[in-house]
């Protein structure tokens, strides 16, 4: 089982779209795939039309009072399951703080899933918190979407130094990629040229800024499910190929 987390300190960079679309592609290839929507806003749950509700809430899952597998919902797609978001996840930091081995709790909870799933995607809330520290522990790779703007690049450097300053953490890969790239914008082109080539933690594939990705909220479905021949769906497919080769 490989655990992949879509993460960025900054919000609105395409984390959820990435988790949902890559998970869909993995499942469509036959891999048993699970998405855990850790963001209390519940965008991934919304895309899969699953109600953002977990019995007993965050507290029940984190304490183990309710095992993770009982919270799993099948999506409309074969091999693709979801642990939905719950508004109580906003308190997850506090609940994690009260457990023993507080930075490893999510890793421990996910371990029994290894026999049932080939890939787990964690869709994380933005910010650096105890939840994200747990995610860093649990994930084999962090998938970091980057919008080619100065501020976005700055937050990536922050993430880099945060991970470097955390000697106790599990060695996981950081795989960043440019997201919402608008080739008409000079700044986007310049930053991609400046920042991308030669860095081993930045992938080659770029996800364009495209209206069909935004339409995921209208269709409430993964992009490759409702627009398989679109340019953006092709970009996600290429991204998935590149990620698989790296993990």
């Amino acid at each position: 089982m490989k655990v992949l987390a879509t993460y960025n300190i900054k919000g609105g960079v395409g984390k959820t779209a990435t988790a949902v679309n890559l998970a869909y592609l993995a499942a469509a290839e036959g891999a048993r795939t699970l998405v855990w929507d850790l963001d209390p806003q519940g965008a991934a749950s919304f895309y899969f039309r699953v109600k953002p509700k977990v019995k007993g809430g965050s507290e029940a899952l984190i304490t183990g009072r309710r095992t993770l597998d009982r919270a799993i919902k099948g999506t409309d797609y074969d091999n693709l399951d979801l642990i939905p978001a719950d508004f109580s996840y906003r308190n997850m930091d506090l609940e994690l703080g009260e457990t023993r081995k507080r930075t490893r709790r999510i890793d421990v909870l996910l371990r029994p899933m290894a026999k049932d799933y080939d890939y787990v995607f964690l869709d994380c809330p933005p910010s650096i918190s105890l939840v994200s520290e747990n995610v860093f522990r649990a994930a084999n790779a962090l998938l970091v979407p980057l919008i080619p703007t100065t501020l976005s690049m700055r937050t990536f450097d922050q993430l880099d130094s945060f991970l470097a300053d955390n000697p106790g953490r599990k060695k996981q890969q950081v795989l960043a990629f440019f997201s919402m790239v608008d080739r008409r914008k000079t700044l986007h082109r310049e930053l991609v040229e400046q920042f991308g080539p030669g860095r081993s933690d930045v992938l080659d594939v770029q996800i364009p800024a495209a209206s069909d990705i935004e339409r995921m909220g209208v269709h409430r479905a993964p992009l490759p499910a409702f627009a398989p021949r679109s340019r953006s769906a092709a970009a996600y497919r290429e991204l998935w190929v590149e990620i698989k080769a790296r993990i």
């Binding site: 290839e29 036959g30 109600k51 919902k73 399951d81 409430r220």
Partner: protein, 551 residues
């Protein structure tokens, strides 16, 4: 995941009305109808069925042009659970390859390949299915359960199969599936059934899933005579040979020949035990002819084994050397092909036909043979089966113990090889006649013996492989491979690696044998098979008594 619920349509009822009725309900959404061609695959020994799974190649057909919104791929190999219908994995393939190693690399394959191993995927039956499905959705448009209606016909005969209506639950929504099942259960046109379209199609095509296993399943009658027990075992072994013969001839995969040869070796072992039960002229003929059968099948098997081991050979080399070994692979493929041609010629020969014919006629009426019941010629023929089997097993056991105890770290390879042969004889005696004794007593003995056999087998394989690799090297040079030099170097590495494996096996032997020769096992062997105090040694002079009763 909850169980699947299936229903069949009562005769003369109309499916269209049922579907239309459901479709009118507010919470149902009809999905696009599909015409699917579905071919069921399994290995000859039903490995997937044994795991309660089924592998199906599904192709969306019917000349329909792909529409916007369709998946780009419409040809899938789908692996699912028989009991829950849960999809365990899918692989995008246009054609189904024969072997797992030719399937596309994916996590699904990591789980499927260890089950299939070297066995060929065989297409069993193909059905054409008209599939309608409806989703039961909640107020967000989320699917909570599905009703799938399949009308299938056999592709070959065009025979229609009974339509099947299935409730497919979605994980995490058990109540929806229950509601749907209740709704269907009250429909007068439906009745609950167990089997699905695949089960029915397999049955129509004459398949009985799980009906072949390479294990010998036999219940002998302890009160029967020795001759009856011997013939019953030989009958079962011959049946195994026959079911594997076509696959052996066609070389579908390596295991047809493997299972065929195991049946031949077991037959030879039983014949060796049948002294005093089967009259000498016939017994000698059968032993000679079955030895021949063993011999003619050996070269192909040897090359099969090297080809199956090749990936391990390659993996034991440094990465940079692996490509060098390819001439060896070509050599093995070519020589396996030649050996297989000779094997088929031998199976087509009059000698084989005569053997099969004689053997069949004798087993049909073994008492008609001249002197078949003459106590002067065959003193054990009327002996109770259980007593006969115990005596032969005891004798085989004592050979193993005697030879095994003599082996030291310095013993030559031949002594280990001889012990391996003894151990095989004992194993076959336990397997062929084990059903005459309590299973819970025989089972643990077989397990202990197997542990010894494994280490002896590894040692012997290493010995043989080293010799063969040297032989292959010579042959590759003689056959004029211009680029064989790097391959020979790589084979030199291999031999060193095999030397190491052999050392490990030899080191393990003493412990394994000591465990087999432990007091509790000796006691159990003696209790089950040992001579009683009034054993009539004189009546059975051919039973070896060349060892003091030191067990």
């Amino acid at each position: 995941m909850s169980e699947l619920h299936r229903f069949a349509l009562e005769d003369g009822s109309d499916l269209t009305t049922l579907v239309a009725g459901l479709e009118q309900r507010p919470c149902f959404e009809r999905e696009p109808d599909r015409t699917i061609e579905r071919t069921v695959y399994d290995t000859f020994d039903w490995r997937l069925h044994a795991e309660r799974t089924v592998l199906e190649h599904e192709r969306v057909i019917g000349g329909r042009r792909p529409r916007k919104g369709d998946e780009p791929v419409v040809s899938w190999l789908v692996w699912r659970s028989i009991d829950t219908g849960e999809v365990l994995g899918r692989l995008a393939v246009d054609e189904v390859p024969t072997f797992a190693w030719d399937l596309p690399d994916a996590p699904t394959l990591d789980r499927l390949a260890p089950i299939l191993e070297m066995r060929a995927l065989l297409p069993l039956v193909t059905v054409q299915i008209e599939r309608a499905s409806l989703r039961l959705v909640d107020d967000e448009g989320k699917t909570e359960a599905r009703v799938v209606i399949e009308r299938a016909r056999m592709q070959d005969s065009d025979e229609l199969l009974a339509p099947v209506v299935e409730v497919v639950p979605v994980r995490g929504y058990p109540r929806a599936a229950d509601r749907l099942t209740e709704l269907l259960a009250v429909q007068v046109v439906l009745r609950p059934v167990e089997s699905d379209v695949v089960d029915e199609a397999l049955a129509r095509a004459g398949f009985n899933p799980g009906d072949y296993s390479s294990k010998l399943k036999l219940r002998l009658d302890p009160a029967g005579h020795a001759l009856d027990a011997v013939v019953a075992v030989l009958d079962a072994l011959f049946a195994t040979m026959l079911v594997n013969e076509a696959g052996t001839r066609a070389d579908v995969d390596s295991e047809f020949l493997h299972d065929y040869r195991v049946a031949v070796r077991r037959t030879r072992s039983v014949l060796a035990m049948a002294k005093g039960v089967v009259p000498p002229p016939l017994l000698d003929e059968l032993r000679r002819e079955f030895k021949w059968l063993g011999d003619i099948t050996t070269p192909t098997r040897d090359f099969d084994v090297y080809l199956l081991t090749y990936p391990q050979f390659e993996a034991s080399l440094p990465e940079s050397r692996r490509a060098d070994l390819r001439p060896l692979r070509s050599f093995l493929v070519e020589h396996q092909r030649l050996a297989q041609t000779e094997l088929v010629a031998a199976l087509d020969s009059p000698r084989y036909a005569t053997l099969v014919d004689h053997y069949r006629r004798w087993r049909a009426d073994p008492r008609r043979e001249p002197a078949a019941t003459d106590p002067e010629v065959v003193p054990d023929v009327e002996r109770p089966a259980v007593e006969f089997a115990a005596a032969r097993t005891w004798s085989a056991y004592r050979s193993v113990v005697r030879d095994g105890r003599r082996i030291t770290h310095e013993s030559p390879a031949e002594s280990l090889h001889d012990l391996r042969k003894d151990a095989k004889k004992l194993r076959y005696a336990l397997e062929c006649f084990g059903s005459l004794f309590p299973a819970d007593e025989v089972g643990p003995l077989v397990k202990e013996l197997k542990a010894v056999q494994d280490v002896l087998g590894e040692f012997q394989d290493c010995e043989v492989q080293k010799g063969s690799l040297r032989g292959f090297g010579g042959a590759m040079v003689a056959e004029g491979g211009a680029d064989s030099a790097p391959a020979l170097l790589a084979m030199g590495y291999l031999i060193e690696h095999i030397d190491e494996r052999e050392r490990v096996a030899r080191d393990q032997f003493a412990d394994r044998f000591a465990s087999f020769d432990a007091h509790h096992n000796r006691a159990r062997f003696r209790r089950l098979f040992g001579p009683s105090s009034d054993d009539q040694q004189e009546d059975h002079p051919h039973e070896k008594r060349d060892m003091k009763d030191d067990t």
